[in-house]
């Protein structure tokens, strides 16, 4: 597959945007009281989010997890209402009610993060059902982690999607941990994508830190889904650079593990590749990083000036 220069720059830019957003969020959270709640960051896993979403339009849907900022940014959501949501402000994408773990931005096809591990998969098959029912060619991608492959939601949803030939792409980011428990403790096989065969669907295991590879594999999955052939599973091997949540001391990680993975940082790898290919030069890379930083800074400023919701907000929108 030939990836255009334009697409390459787009892939790189989206990853940098996520990293900048997550790093800044991390800083603000650590600084104190501005961001309430629990935050699960996705630094290190950008290639999975970007390689997937770069194949989708706003009419395609995604579902993501408690670690969902990256997917939503990759899909193209505006950073301002995202940041305002993290601050619990009225201009947040969910009016400040939901926060990090429950983000949704429906207009860009981000149908929801989820505080309940695995539940995105059950909902994804419904959105895919609607896409098929309404005779669109749209698809639904659902992100989940290694831990989520233990849920009934995964098995039931995959089986149902395969049985009903629903256009769902199951995107599994193996970051090796479910909270503090290593994948080897809770998954009895090497590659969970092997399970797809059991449901009669294609499944592949790939390097989840290689954004072009993810992009190419997902493009095959999208084609498969748009052609009405049912679900497709992509398992990408990646790593989360930070703890399960901000504040996690990570003492369950063996010494040196993080350092090994930092050498395989998807952004650093891609930056080097694009430099070598001459797609980007140092100056342009710097420019992209600055542009992303500006976008994030603007989002933070937007969030800060947005008011807190009034108490009445708690009682609105319970019923349509």
């Amino acid at each position: 597959m030939k990836i255009s220069k334009e697409t390459k720059i787009d892939l790189f830019t989206r990853m940098v945007k996520i990293r900048t957003f997550e790093d800044e969020t991390h800083k603000i959270f650590m600084a104190g009281k501005e961001m309430p709640g629990f935050l699960h960051l996705s630094q290190g896993e950008e290639a999975m989010a970007v390689g997937t979403c770069a194949n989708l339009t706003f009419d395609d849907a995604i579902y993501t997890t408690h670690r969902g900022h990256g997917c939503i940014i990759a899909k193209g959501a505006d950073l301002k209402p995202m940041m305002a949501e993290l601050f619990g402000r009225i201009d947040g994408c969910c009016k400040g009610r939901a926060g990090s773990m429950h983000f949704a931005d429906v207009k860009t096809g981000c149908m929801g993060s989820n505080g309940i591990v695995g539940e995105g998969m059950r909902l994804a098959i419904g959105t895919a059902f609607a896409q098929k029912y309404q005779k669109t060619k749209n698809v639904t991608a659902v992100f989940f982690g290694d831990g989520a492959t233990g849920t009934g939601a995964f098995h039931e949803s995959f089986n149902m999607a395969a049985t009903l030939k629903l256009p769902v792409i199951f995107v599994c980011s193996i970051n090796f941990y479910a909270q503090m428990t290593h994948k080897s403790v809770h998954i009895p096989i090497e590659h969970v994508a092997d399970r797809a065969a059991g449901y009669g669907a294609p499944g592949v295991t790939i390097d989840g830190n290689d954004v072009e590879l993810v992009y190419e594999e997902v493009s095959k999955a999208v084609k498969h889904c748009r052609a009405g052939k049912g679900p497709y599973m992509i398992e990408g091997i990646t790593y989360r650079h930070h703890g399960h949540f901000i504040g996690d001391p990570c003492n369950y990680r063996p010494a040196g593990e993080l350092e090994e993975w930092l050498k395989k940082d998807p952004i650093v790898l891609y930056e080097q590749k694009l430099l070598k290919e001459g797609v980007l030069d140092e100056k342009r890379i710097q420019q992209i990083k600055e542009e992303c930083k500006n976008l994030v800074d603007e989002a933070v400023a937007f969030a800060r000036q947005s008011p807190q919701p009034d108490i009445e907000e708690l009682y609105k929108d319970i019923l349509a």
């Binding site: 709640g37 629990f38 990090s100 009934g152 428990t181 809770h186 108490i311 708690l314």
Partner: protein
């Protein structure tokens, strides 16, 4: 009394002591083994008892509780951790259709002695999927017991009682209480399931607190006493079965009753208590029974909205003053 220990270690010690006493007791859940529990409650248990008795599982709540039901019916005494109480939605099936009904349905051929630990997390900005108090669902299930510890002393005593009980017991533990410290009795003791505790004696009004709301009620009582009001404070401790006799006796003395609980007011424990009290004690009441509880909406992650949602000492003081006119 022994030296002060934290609520979370009271739970831990109760489980470990019971595991030492009874080889059929084991713990199971996500992260309960090697990591020592998502919030450290089961720390050290795997080191003493090994991975056969401290079982780390995949993220499979339905299968965890189903396993417990089947294991309990076959003679073991599982202690499962569900983590945040919201995740219990994924195993209401196993708790209700299976665990609570099995003994009755099978004509008393089996016992189902198991404990399910679930943590409530109001007040942490954890948001709609992590902050709910769902205990009243389970209070309407015959065949299941539900306890809500409030101090390190009863956290330990209720856990021991729950493990020794021959029935399924849901044990609701508040995250915000994990670090409360208190001296606890030395040696083996239990806190009986199905009995509430009179924490402060008084004559002017009965306050019934549920679970962690004890801490709020204690603050409220201090404020009220300064104003010359003498409330009688009852810590409910078990919400299924309810110890109504202790509440009736108190209402006979005080003629007024207010219930404070973190869960929603609508269809909550307070509603059941209020209904029973007006049925049995109508002539003894000088005022309508009142409730201080969460409103009929969802809990937000936003701190201001969450604070408005959760009941607390200030709201209780205001309610009591209003009731006493």
């Amino acid at each position: 009394m022994g030296k002060p220990i934290m609520f979370q270690w009271a739970i831990n010690h109760a489980i470990a002591e019971e595991m030492r006493r009874d080889p059929t007791v084991f713990i199971i859940g996500e992260d309960v083994g090697k990591p020592g529990g998502p919030f450290g409650v089961t720390r050290g248990i795997i080191d003493e008892f090994g991975p056969e008795r401290a079982v780390d599982t995949p993220i499979s709540e339905g299968a965890i509780i189903g396993l417990c039901v089947g294991a309990a019916a076959a003679g073991l005494r599982p202690v499962a951790e569900i983590m945040f109480m919201n995740f219990i939605t994924l195993c209401v099936e196993e708790l209700y259709n299976q665990a609570s009904k099995m003994r009755w349905m099978f004509g008393a051929q089996v016992k189902v002695p198991m404990v399910v630990r679930a943590m409530t997390a109001g007040g942490y900005g954890a948001g709609p999927h992590h902050s709910s108090s769902l205990e009243s669902w389970f209070a309407s299930m015959p065949g299941l017991k539900v306890v809500m510890p409030s101090t390190p002393v009863n956290a330990k005593g209720l856990m021991k009682a729950a493990i020794r009980d021959d029935n399924p017991v849901l044990y609701v533990e508040p995250l915000s209480s994990y670090r409360i410290k208190a001296e606890i009795p030395e040696g083996d003791y239990i806190t009986p399931i199905g009995k509430c505790e009179i924490v402060r004696e008084g004559t002017d009004i009965t306050i019934v607190s549920v679970g962690r709301m004890l801490q709020e009620a204690l603050k409220a009582v201090d404020v009220l006493e300064k104003d010359g009001i003498k409330p009688e404070l009852i810590d409910l401790l078990t919400i299924n079965p309810l110890d109504m006799e202790t509440i009736y006796a108190s209402v006979k003395k005080t003629n007024r009753l207010v219930i404070i609980h973190e869960a929603k007011q609508t269809m909550g424990i307070g509603a059941e208590i209020a209904a029973s009290v007006q049925e049995k004690m109508f002539d003894w009441l000088d005022a309508p029974v009142e409730r201080v509880a969460a409103p009929f909406t969802h809990i937000a992650f936003q701190p201001k909205l969450e604070q408005h949602y959760l009941p607390d000492a200030t709201k209780l003081v205001a309610k009591v003053k209003q009731m006493l006119g």
